[in-house]
């Protein structure tokens, strides 16, 4: 049993979790944050991605306790449907979504990548997203959204 203090999307949160509770469940079940998704629980698909200290993190395989005192950004932290952030807007402009289940992972992974790579090549973009799986085949539009963000940032 552990008390973990997190800063989630700018707000202080305190969760009581088991020592082995992955961050994904602390966010979804304890804090009712829906952005990060359960896709595999194995760290294979990226649907659960959040950003911690600038790094994309697979929240389904990392224990909450590892983030004691840390700032966690989820999809909701980038903007809302009423007021989307720039990267989210790029996805809207490119209509880069089908079922949408993978999109949290795509945007959060891209967000961390873009913070550290201002002018990536196409190959670097696809390499950065390689570990994020999409079954609907929205890949081309997702890359277009990332490039649109870069072009308009």
């Amino acid at each position: 049993m552990a008390i973990v203090n997190l800063n989630v999307n700018g707000k202080s949160q305190r969760v009581e979790v088991e020592d082995d509770t992955p961050l994904l469940y602390a966010l979804r079940d304890h804090l009712e944050i829906n952005g990060p998704k359960y896709g595999c629980g194995l760290g294979q698909c990226g649907a659960c991605t959040v950003v911690v200290e600038g790094q994309a993190v697979r929240s389904c395989v990392t224990p909450t306790t590892a983030f004691q005192g840390k700032a966690v950004t989820t999809l909701e932290g980038l903007g809302s449907s009423a007021k989307p952030g720039k990267l989210q807007q790029a996805f809207i402009d490119e209509q880069a979504v089908q079922c949408g289940y993978c999109i949290n992972g795509m945007i959060m992974t891209a967000s961390a990548f873009l913070a550290n790579n201002k002018n990536p090549t196409d190959a670097q973009i696809t390499e950065a997203l390689a570990g994020n799986l999409c079954r609907c085949g929205t890949h081309q539009r997702i890359v277009a959204a990332v490039k649109r963000y870069i072009a308009t940032a």
Binding site: E18, E32, N34, K37, E76, T126
Partner: protein, 744 residues
């Protein structure tokens, strides 16, 4: 209780969703969870299709569901068009069995054609009814009336406008006239426009209500425990370790149905892993490397001649040159990114289910059968899951949730694991197909004979009452039926030939529990038809596109092929590519053409590949698609689906096959059932042919049918080798290269 923001309220009430809107709790007293009260759903009653409130807000009710394909937006365009209102005025409820009419399941590429046309007629009826009321109130003839933005005015009384809200009264209270006059397509202002999808802003901000995100007060979390051995049953259960998990509530068991129920999701994960089950042996599966031989030896339950022209036996006997080929398509699975999930609440004899099923209305019967509740006591509320591409695990998860809720009397959420979804969700059945054709002495293609070994589709049309839901089988009602789709479709030869015989042999088994997987039947049959036509073109030393066009007379078929040739800068020449004779990386292009069901949408696809002769790796570099689906409702929506269909099917063609060992499925996660990743995604270019005034046809299932053969034909063009078994893995490419006779 926190105050609802106006936005929350509109979102919740507009979508018929929980007032909770996923961000706040409601008390137990709000037992109806803020769901819209049941209303008329009879298809012949206009009030079943739409309601208008005093403010003029229009709510449209459809039985079709979005499934992430964008049809909610397209259907809303259709409704707004007929009602002469701005697009934003439409709210749409989909798939709620208590409030929407049953339009049959969502699939089969008919959402916009069948679903949309029923909606269009209903909306046209509503418009006519409102105009009629306005004419009475204003005391003017109907011919004087016009509508702008939902306001009706008369030319002789321009200062008196009436809104829909003022005219609606107590609803329409009339029957739907199927002959209602619809708006001429020449006046369309919304249909045909690339209106941005209504669901995307929510999906990019974490606000979209997926079924996975639903939280009910007092909701428990359940995980069902099932074996990977097909057919294994429970011998013994030891849940003593599970009981030690903090958050454990109870174990649920009925015959072979076993689940743990916990207070939170992580406890459920741990408790499920802590239960020790002894399983019986599963049923033996045929050896994987012999699957197609095994499939073809199975007893044939039914034989149909789906096409018979002229005298094919005579043509083949008289043929100067004969070409034969056999094609196989592996067992694949939907592999949805989001493992299936459903939520159930059972109280006062009433079952409410929140489900991502593509068939919520018919699910009522399936659930009634398992729970022994009357169908009328069961309500399914559709919420999006992740893309399903056919019947994946969503219906099973729904049945699991219903069963557990009934047994424990508390609201429960069932989350399937990645392993459940990949290994246990229904799969497509295997396919094997034999072809033979003949040329005469003048080089004319004279005869075409094909035999398709397909799985028998048990289910009587339109009602999946016998579908083998796991919850049903686990509780003593195995339901041996299959609902694999009408797999004979697109078996017919797509070309004009003097002698054709197409035979479908229906096998009464599927190896694994099977269901329809995107473009069921059409994708496998078109792979074979279009690969074979390509082999014939090569035998005739003809350019593959010209050879096809020579045997087509339908102008729309010719148009779509010409469009893709232009888009791909196709060089007219026979295959293989003379420029690829040497070198480690061989480049090639291939074409395929499909008219979906031989009746609706036309698609022509050119794939360009690079084949590594050393490793056998195929890289699809570019795919051009020309697409004619009649009147286009939302062009960008079509392009989105075409692109998605290409990329998904490249993955299936190159990589995907379910694997097993003995009686155990070994494809259980993304490592053991990999799909295409970003670096391997081709560039996709789409050319849309719009046909305003023509019937609206589907745009989701069609493109996938063209992709496997386009790739196979491109590989032939690159290395002179035919790949006839899906998937085209590097290992299978190397085997084919080693076995192939040298070309040229």
């Amino acid at each position: 209780m926190n105050a609802l923001t106006r936005r929350d309220f509109l979102k919740a009430s507009g979508a018929g969703l929980l007032v909770v809107s996923f961000s706040m709790k409601i008390t137990e007293a709000s037992a109806n969870y803020g769901l819209m009260p049941p209303k008329s759903v009879a298809k012949d009653q206009l009030d079943s299709w739409l309601t208008i409130d005093r403010t003029g807000k229009i709510t449209v009710f459809v039985g079709k569901v979005d499934l992430g394909t964008g049809t909610k937006t397209a259907l809303s365009q259709i409704a707004a068009e007929e009602l002469y209102v701005p697009f934003e005025r439409i709210d749409m409820i989909m798939g709620d069995t208590a409030t929407t009419p049953d339009q049959w399941l969502t699939g089969a590429a008919i959402t916009l054609s069948q679903g949309g046309s029923e909606l269009r007629i209903a909306a046209a009826n509503a418009r006519t009814a409102l105009l009629t009321r306005a004419a009475e109130q204003l005391k003017v003839p109907l011919t004087e009336l016009s509508i702008k933005d939902g306001m009706i005015s008369a030319t002789s009384k321009p200062n008196q406008t009436l809104s829909y809200g003022e005219l609606i009264g107590e609803g329409f209270q009339i029957k739907v006239d199927p002959k209602a006059k619809v708006k001429p397509h020449t006046e369309y202002t919304l249909v045909g426009k690339s209106i941005q999808r209504v669901d995307i802003p929510d999906k990019v901000s974490g606000e979209h209500p997926f079924v996975h995100d639903l939280r009910l007060p007092g909701m428990l979390h359940a995980r069902v425990i099932r074996p990977l051995d097909m057919g294994a049953t429970i011998v013994s259960v030891d849940d003593s370790a599970a009981k030690q998990i903090k958050g454990y509530v109870q174990t649920v068991r009925k015959d072979n149905f076993l689940a743990v129920v916990c207070k939170d999701e992580w406890s459920a994960v741990k408790a499920a892993n802590a239960v020790k089950v002894t399983w019986s042996a599963g049923r033996a599966l045929p050896a994987q490397d012999q699957i197609f031989n095994y499939w073809r030896q199975l007893p044939i339950a039914k034989t149909d001649i789906t096409q018979n022209v002229g005298n094919v036996d005579a043509a083949l006997s008289a043929g100067v040159k004969r070409v034969k080929a056999t094609y196989n398509f592996a067992v694949q699975t939907h592999a949805s990114t989001g493992p299936s999930c459903a939520v159930a609440d059972f109280r006062d004899g009433k079952m409410t289910l929140w489900s991502a099923s593509q068939a919520t209305h018919s699910m009522q019967e399936e659930i009634a059968n398992i729970t022994k509740l009357p169908k009328d006591s069961i309500r399914l509320v559709y919420l999006d899951g992740s893309g399903c591409y056919g019947r994946n695990g969503h219906e099973d998860a729904t049945a699991d949730a219903a069963l557990i809720a009934q047994m424990i009397g508390k609201p429960v959420r069932v989350q399937w694991t990645r392993q459940d979804e990949t290994a246990l969700a229904p799969k497509s059945p295997p396919r094997s197909m034999d072809f033979e054709a003949s040329f005469d002495a003048q080089g004319n293609l004279t005869g075409w004979n094909s035999d398709f070994y397909i799985a028998l589709n048990h289910i009587a049309a339109f009602k999946p009452l016998d579908f083998p839901l796991l919850a049903s089988a686990d509780t003593g009602n195995p339901r041996p039926g299959n609902w694999v789709g009408f797999l004979f479709q697109n078996s017919a030869a797509p070309y004009v030939l003097p002698n054709i015989k197409v035979t479908t042999k229906h096998i009464d088994q599927t190896i694994f529990r099977a269901s329809h997987l995107r473009s069921p039947g059409r994708i496998e049959n078109s792979f074979a038809n279009e690969s074979f036509m390509d082999e014939l073109a090569a035998a005739a030393n003809a350019d593959p596109a010209e050879f096809r066009m020579k045997h087509l007379s339908d102008p729309r078929a010719l148009d779509v092929i010409k469009a893709v040739l232009k888009a791909s800068n196709w060089q007219t020449r026979p295959g293989p590519n003379p420029a690829s004779v040497q070198g480690e990386i061989a480049k090639g292009r291939g074409i395929s053409y499909v008219r979906y069901n031989n009746a609706i949408t036309y698609v022509a696809t050119v794939a360009e590949v690079e084949v590594n002769r050393t490793t056998g790796q195929i890289k699809v570099t570019r795919v051009c698609v020309a697409h004619d689906c009649g009147q286009i409702v939302n062009p960008d929506g079509v392009v989105n689906q075409v692109e998605g269909g290409v990329i998904q099917t490249v993955s299936r063609t190159l990589m995907e096959e379910v694997k097993w060992n003995g009686s155990t499925v070994t494809s259980v996660d993304w490592a053991s059932y990999p799909i295409l990743q970003f670096p391997d995604v081709p560039k996709v270019e789409t050319v849309l042919i719009d046909r305003p005034g023509q019937p609206v046809w589907g745009a989701g299932e069609q493109t996938p049918t063209t992709v496997p053969a386009a790739i196979a034909n491109a590989v032939f063009d690159a290395i002179g080798v035919r790949l006839r078994t899906i998937p085209f893995t590097p290992a299978s490419v190397k085997v084919a290269m080693a076995q192939a006779p040298k070309v040229g």
